[in-house]
């Protein structure tokens, strides 16, 4: 975008400096942090600009021999329910799989690629990336063995593509494999081909959707037969630990793989991933009693975490990601039924369609208090929908909490207080139903918003829906979030890739959730804008990473400044780690992204 030109110029200068060696990679990244411009796509910017993709930070792995570390006990408050990475439904399943299976490369916490089964990360210099952005060539590590002793080769990689893209397999990873072609170049080289220039190429075979299953055990079980594969329950992978036992929803157990392909790894003799319970007691077991070494995804009030940390057995660790807790304002009328559908695109919301009302509501969300008193370190107040990677974070939005200003805006907008203290205009009252899923921090957040609204003459009725219903795709149930049969709702959208493209589909007109598409569209607010549509289409065709980022930022700005959504806090992933355990989470990959490097100080 033109208004972004100065930034673009500055960036190009910096990239040139890195290329000529005037500026180190690390300084470049740090500079970008200062500019508000860094992380995974930033490293890809360097790649496309002809700067070698440095190996991700070399790990400071200390142990000098394999094994001897005793047991590693980890706690997930939802246990893994299956162990085939192509069927994985949630991160719990992906994490369970990641103990045994590995991708070609992982995303490290800074969003850089870290080679696992790949010999090196493809870039322009090593010929891994083509200039036209239409192919990627991966060189595979030699001498890698499956747990049953068979060699790992390019045929396995190609097979995973065939397996996942087959709709009959019903793989949850299909989205990463269906639009591409994969070919074997030689036994240890594969090439991924795209139809059109693809700016974000590191999707297939990378991270949580890139784990590779062995061809020799799955070849007979593709398509409709996929559910009968014995290996679904007894995984045979290449990872640092071999399979021992699995009880769905309860625990996964593994033991050291003596033939692992990285030297002196792994450190632990056995690994246990125990599931079940709740997040608070999981944190307690690591931080306070030390019964366990690691606990996953602690969606807990920070105050509780801080108190548990005083137990002295462990620490909490935050990995930044892009998950955003936000409030959606319905653009359509949820109380009028049109052709068997409420919140239909054919309607306008009677009061929320007035921008003054939306603006007032945005002023009434006390984000700072929500951060200070509920989420703490685990939820940072923000005015943006896209909060990470930094390269995509807009500087053009702002937020404040100001009841007086909200009152003034409503007064000016002609919304007068009635006898009951509730504002109204033309017989329409400012009364809203505000729904969210059942989750203690969310209910507190609702209470904070409701109280501020009361002071501004807006009546809010709180509604909470059990998560299993709210987050379901049940066409018949009006309480699911895609139906959005109420005025205001709040939840977290997770950002699974270090790139906001799919994430921003939530603001394009062709993705509106309607009865016609069985509410499967991703645009839930029903907010549409031609400008946003155009910017999105332009970004898809743009190979220049800087220009592309500018288009994506524009979509964020349009949605936030028009108050289609009110971002509240963005939520890094939080984990509890035993004080002796050396491990680091990544907000862009499985918690086990570098499990082979985990070790305990003696």
């Amino acid at each position: 975008m033109h208004e972004q030109a100065p930034d673009e110029q500055a960036l190009r200068g910096l990239i040139a400096d890195v290329r000529t060696g005037k500026l180190s990679r690390r300084t470049f990244i740090n500079r970008m942090i200062a500019l508000g411009l860094t992380a995974p796509l930033a490293t890809q910017m360097l790649v496309y600009s002809g700067v070698a993709h440095a190996q991700a930070t070399p790990s400071d792995y200390k142990p000098t021999k394999r094994g001897g570390g005793g047991p590693l006990k980890t706690l997930w408050w939802q246990g893994a329910t299956l162990l085939n990475p192509h069927f994985a439904v949630g991160t719990k399943d992906q994490d369970g799989c990641r103990i045994f299976y590995e991708p070609l490369a992982s995303w490290d916490p800074d969003g850089a690629l870290y080679p696992v089964l790949a010999a090196e990360i493809p870039d322009l210099e090593n010929g891994g990336l083509s200039k036209d952005g239409k192919s990627v060539t991966w060189k595979l590590k030699q001498g890698v063995q499956w747990h049953d002793g068979k060699p790992f080769t390019a045929a396995d990689v190609v097979f995973n593509w065939e397996y996942a893209k087959d709709p009959g397999t019903a793989a949850t990873t299909i989205g990463s494999y269906s639009g591409i072609k994969v070919e074997k170049v030689d036994d240890h080289t594969v090439r991924v081909l795209f139809d059109k220039p693809t700016p974000f190429w590191a999707d297939a075979f990378v991270g949580v959707r890139g784990m590779i299953i062995p061809k020799h055990l799955y070849a007979d079980y593709t398509g409709g037969k996929s559910r009968d594969a014995p290996a679904n329950l007894k995984p045979v992978g290449t990872g640092p630990y071999r399979f021992v036992d699995f009880k769905p929803g309860d625990m996964v157990r593994g033991e050291l793989n003596p033939n692992y392909h990285m030297p002196n790894r792994p450190h632990f003799d056995t690994i246990e991933m125990k599931g079940g319970g709740d997040a608070i007691s999981a944190a307690r077991a690591v931080l306070q009693t030390g019964e366990f070494d690691y606990a996953w995804n602690l969606q807990v009030e920070d105050e509780l975490l801080l108190r548990l940390e005083k137990g002295g057995k462990g620490r909490t660790d935050m990995s930044p990601g892009g998950n955003i807790e936000h409030i959606q304002l319905n653009s359509t009328d949820p109380w009028t039924e049109v052709e068997g559908e409420r919140s239909s695109l054919k309607t306008k919301h009677p009061t929320l369609s007035d921008k003054a009302v939306r603006e007032a509501l945005a002023l009434l969300v006390d984000r700072q208090s929500v951060q200070d008193h509920i989420y703490g370190r685990t939820g940072i107040a923000t005015g943006n929908f896209v909060n990470n990677p930094q390269k995509f974070v807009s500087k053009n939005t702002k937020w404040e909490f100001n009841i007086d200003k909200a009152n003034k805006i409503l007064d000016d907008g002609g919304w007068k207080r009635g006898a009951d203290g509730i504002r109204e205009k033309d017989g329409k009252k400012l009364k809203f139903v505000y729904q969210t899923s059942i989750n203690t921090p969310r209910q507190k957040n609702q209470a904070i918003v409701k109280q501020a609204c009361q002071k501004a003459g807006i009546d809010v009725e709180l509604k909470s829906v059990t998560a299993s219903v709210f987050f379901s795709s049940d066409v018949a149930n009006p309480d699911t979030y895609p139906h959005f049969y109420c005025d205001i709702q709040m939840y977290t959208t997770t950002m699974t890739q270090p790139d906001p493209e799919t994430f921003l589909l939530q603001f394009v007109s062709w993705e509106v959730a309607t009865k016609e598409n069985k509410w499967q569209g991703r645009n839930i607010t029903r907010w549409t804008s031609k400008e946003a549509d155009d910017a999105f289409k332009a970004s898809q065709a743009e190979l220049d990473p800087v220009k592309r980022a500018a288009y994506l930022i524009k979509i964020n700005d349009l949605a936030c400044n028009d108050h289609a959504v009110i971002p509240v806090v963005y939520r890094p992933r939080v984990q509890a780690i035993n004080n002796k355990l050396q491990a680091r989470g990544s907000g862009w990959d499985s918690d086990f992204w570098n499990l082979q490097d985990w070790y305990k100080d003696a």
């Binding site: 009030e301 105050e303 008193h373 904070i448 409701k450 009725e461 709180l462 909470s464 059990t466 219903v469």
Partner: protein
């Protein structure tokens, strides 16, 4: 409840003796009830609790949802007699407000469960035809139904129509009472049936039958009073269970809106702060305990009062 602490249980129970009085079974029952000191004291305590939650909000005018981050998790003080919760909301106000719902839900759901259970159990216990097995089948069915999906179905099917018929809170109230009562009557039915099977063959019932007492009379006058023991126990247990179940329901989105502080809800919210703010859990826990205690003693007193064989 704060009101309850004012009462000294023994002080209230002075049974005035009135030597000459006209005889009536109800007066007689009342006389017997009054003699049961704990029952009388419990009645007074329960009435005081009801009075406190009915009138309390008019005296203690702090709003239940007044968030004050400066006063988070404070221990009891003059400005917050029961302390505050983690959003700095006044616990006294919340306890008073929530008490209305908790007590109403607890008592009504208990009555629903007891009535259903007694009627079904008694009918099954007296029947010698197909009605008995049919009712027992119904009991087994309800015992087997998994509560959670059933509740989700109920809320999904009936919430909007109930809301339309009884208003927001009224609709939720009716639904909760029906749901809790409707899912807790089965043990009572089984217990009552078992008592009936045994009692209907006892000599005194046979005597009544021989004297030509109708079936209804046999049940109401002779069998039921002797089968009430387990019912009264179940009643006290169910009051507690209903108050707690209400809070569980609100976690399923079936209960009252999340900002309505019922006792069970306050207790649930408080549990994770048990080690830093024990007062937060103490008051709702004590309130539920006191309710259970009083209901139990009132039940004991009632049974003694209605049981003519008991010599007092």
């Amino acid at each position: 409840m704060d009101g309850s602490t004012l009462v000294s249980p023994s002080a209230e129970v002075i049974a005035p003796q009135r030597p000459a009085r006209p005889f009536s079974p109800w007066l007689e029952a009342w006389r017997r009830f009054r003699r049961h000191r704990l029952a009388l004291a419990s009645t007074v305590v329960l009435l005081l609790m009801i009075l406190a939650i009915a009138l309390g909000p008019f005296v203690w005018k702090v709003a239940i949802n007044d968030i004050d981050f400066a006063a988070r998790m404070q221990t009891p003080s003059w400005s917050h007699p029961l302390g505050t919760d983690d959003l700095g909301q006044d616990l006294l106000a919340r306890m008073l407000y929530g008490g209305r719902i908790s007590l109403a839900v607890g008592l009504s759901a208990m009555f629903v469960a007891m009535t259903l259970g007694t009627v079904i159990g008694a009918t099954a216990g007296m029947s010698r035809g197909w009605v008995g097995p049919a009712l027992i089948w119904l009991t087994d069915l309800f015992l087997s139904l998994p509560a959670l999906p059933l509740l989700q179905l109920v809320i999904y099917l009936f919430r909007d129509s109930l809301k339309a018929a009884f208003g927001l809170e009224g609709g939720v109230f009716v639904m909760i009472v029906v749901v809790i009562g409707g899912l807790r009557w089965m043990p009572v039915a089984r217990l009552v049936r078992a008592q009936f099977l045994s009692l209907r063959e006892k000599e005194f019932v046979e005597a009544a039958r021989a004297l030509g007492a109708s079936k209804l009379r046999q049940v109401v006058r002779h069998i039921l009073p002797n089968a009430l023991g387990p019912v009264l126990v179940a009643a006290t247990i169910d009051v507690a269970a209903a108050i707690i179940a209400e809070s569980t329901l609100s976690f399923l989105g079936l209960g009252f809106p999340p900002d309505i502080p019922t006792w069970g809800r306050i207790l649930y919210d408080a549990k994770d702060y048990l080690d830093i703010a024990p007062h937060w859990a103490l008051f709702p826990g004590a309130a539920i305990f006191l309710t259970v205690l009083t209901i139990n003693f009132i039940g004991d007193g009632l049974r003694d009062a209605l049981d003519p064989r008991k010599v007092m």
